[in-house]
């Protein structure tokens, strides 16, 4: 059962990383334009700018 000493912190840490990543994505405005994001991936942005 001693392995729990490692496993529990690891589990919590990984959960925490997920939470932090979500809050970061929220703060950086990634949920502001859900419709645009769906289309943006289809955009050919490799054409040279005029």
């Amino acid at each position: 059962m001693n392995v729990l000493i490692y496993l529990i912190p690891i589990a919590l840490f990984m959960g925490g990383v997920g939470l932090a990543a979500f809050i970061w994505s929220l703060k950086s405005g990634q949920y502001d334009d859900l419709e645009g994001a769906a289309w943006r991936i289809l955009q050919d942005d490799d054409t040279p700018k005029p």
């Binding site: 809050i23 334009d33 050919d44 700018k49």
Partner: protein, 763 residues
Amino acid sequence: MTLPCCTLDGEYFQPFKLEGEDAARWISSAGPGLKRIEFLVPQANRPEAMAHIETDLGALAGVTSARLNLTGRRVAVVYEEGAIEPQALIDRLGFLGYMARPFDPRETGLTKDDKENAKLLRALAVAGFAASNVMLLSVSVWSGAEGATRDLFHWLSAMIALPAVAYAGRPFFYSAVNALRLGRVNMDVPISLGVLLASFMSLFETINGEAHAYFDASVTLLFFLLAGRYLDHLMRARARSAIAQLVSLSAEGATLIEADGSRRYVPARDLKAGMVVAVAAGDRLPADGLIREGTSDMDRSLLTGETAPETVKPGALVHAGEMNVTAPITVEITAAGNDTFLSELVRLMASAEQGQSRYIRIADRLARFYSPAVHTLAAVTLIGWMLLGNGWHDSIMAAIAVLIITCPCALGLAVPAVQVVASGKLFRSGVMIKDGAALEKLAGVDTVIFDKTGTLTKGEPALVSPLMVSTDTLALAAGLAQASKHPLSRALVREVAKRGLQPVTVSDVAEHPGLGLSGTYAGEQLRLGNRAWCGMEESGEDLGLLEFAFRRGAKPAVLFQFEDQLRPDAATTIAELKQMGLAVHLLSGDREAAVTRVADTVGIDTAVSRASPQAKLAYVDALSKAGRHVLMVGDGINDAPALAAGYTSMAPATASDIGRTAAETVWMGESAAAVARAIKVSRRTQRIAKENFALAVGYNVFAVPLAMVGFVSPLVAAVAMSTSSIIVIANALRVGLGRTSGPSSARVDGDQQTGRNALKDAA
């Protein structure tokens, strides 16, 4: 002076003007030497617009970045201070075919919505994090962890769950405290009580090293409930941001004439009585006033519902919101700001809103019975266990288990889940509902009152007679009409364009206010205007049609007749509404002949004409007093008080700003079928919401006895609550199934229409 721009649809508009000191409020700082400004671009509704706008603006010298938000139709531009002027950006967007208006998120209350949104999402994320981790630990306990290991797991759960409850539970705690302070009970009271008691009891049990802790229940509960709360909020925010985009694109201001004759532009809010302003043809009046110089025609359709413009002479009283059609005039302001006819209507509207009894949402109505019932059951359990000779500890445990199991998790989801699916479905077909209460009220209406001009009709006249007219005559008449902003002239030009003809260029065109237009072509005099102007005899009969006579040289005059065309599907919608058992009335400010004509065509029996805004309000009030649930459908400034007084209200996207703000539901697109569709979907929504309540209450009927006799372990509670929530969500998704009546392209049509309306305002 920039040239008018042309949109993708081929219509002209005047680009927005950023005026001096006013410009500063749109611009914010974005780092050293960088400025940021946002524009509203209603026409950027297609994905192609992203690449189009972003690459083009991005290539301008001085622009650091340009990004289009397709959901909000806003462009955020970051530029180097001094390297480029914001006006140049507006002009460039205009050149690309997008009408742009600087956008201040503060003015529409969008930031408040966005903040609230982010707060709920963060709480949801925290609750989700806690729920998943605590559940992991709980599953270990259920699968047989004992002794010190179990205690360790409980302590770990407590350390995760308690802060999470304190953080994520705040929306419910605040709302519950507010309700209790007002002496009311809402759903958040049993929610807060359940969550808090579960947490504290579990902490107590953990300290004493007991077997049962309900930490997982309290955080999963919060997670599900926050999901419901977020959905409810998302629905409101979506409709609000869409409606905010419809805000008139015209600059609110006027050209002030100083005593020394010099002219300068002032924002409308700085106007005061006694000032003299110049109003160009095609501009809306910024304030009430008396005409000093100039004779013109006034388009009062937004104020009175009348389509035919009225001739005004010096000395005549004109009101804010009217459009000057024919000739430039100067107006001495008699009332500005809070003293205008418009603000009188706003006051009327506010009092109409106050007079309306507060609508109580279906979930809150249920909460009135639910909370006392649940709390009584818990008390009964406590007393029962005590009487049966069990100790304090076990009795309190059983009572708290009852509170946990009845915590209205499924009830909290029952309504928002259904409503968000329904409003999403309506949104896609172009109907925007401002909040869940509006959807509930829509299901309960029994009377529909329509306004005529702009609501049942398109609000723009179209040529109906003569259909057989020589192309020469039409092209010549259109050549004259081109010079005028009179609604009938514009209708004539539209008709000619529709038939694929080119208006003939006419020389010496002059506009004579109150009479018509004159010009010369190939040595012959041309006249277009009222009957007297073209030497025709007046006819005594009023058919409710608008007329324009046209005379070429000495030939007999031709009479063009126009009619305000009905919206597509108007008649079928009325028939459908009647079939649904609703009473339909027509309430218009227009002349009797025109109103009767429309009422007959669409099949409305009860029609009232020449109704002033006050009369409309009184009509709606009288029906409400008689116990009817009135849906008021209107668009004009004159409808606003009636819209506010109705049980609920709808307005087309082409409505006046004030009408759109007053209405609880706004629909895009030309077709009137949206009215019937909205009512149908809302009725279906209400039915499924009630089913959901039945499911949730049924679950309680089954689970509460188990809790009262003490069979509910944390495992049973977790399984029961999750299952009931999932069943309720699955049932809610049924609203989205089934045929969506109406064209799937409605939204695109609607957007184009919005753009055109905005153009009209801006032109």
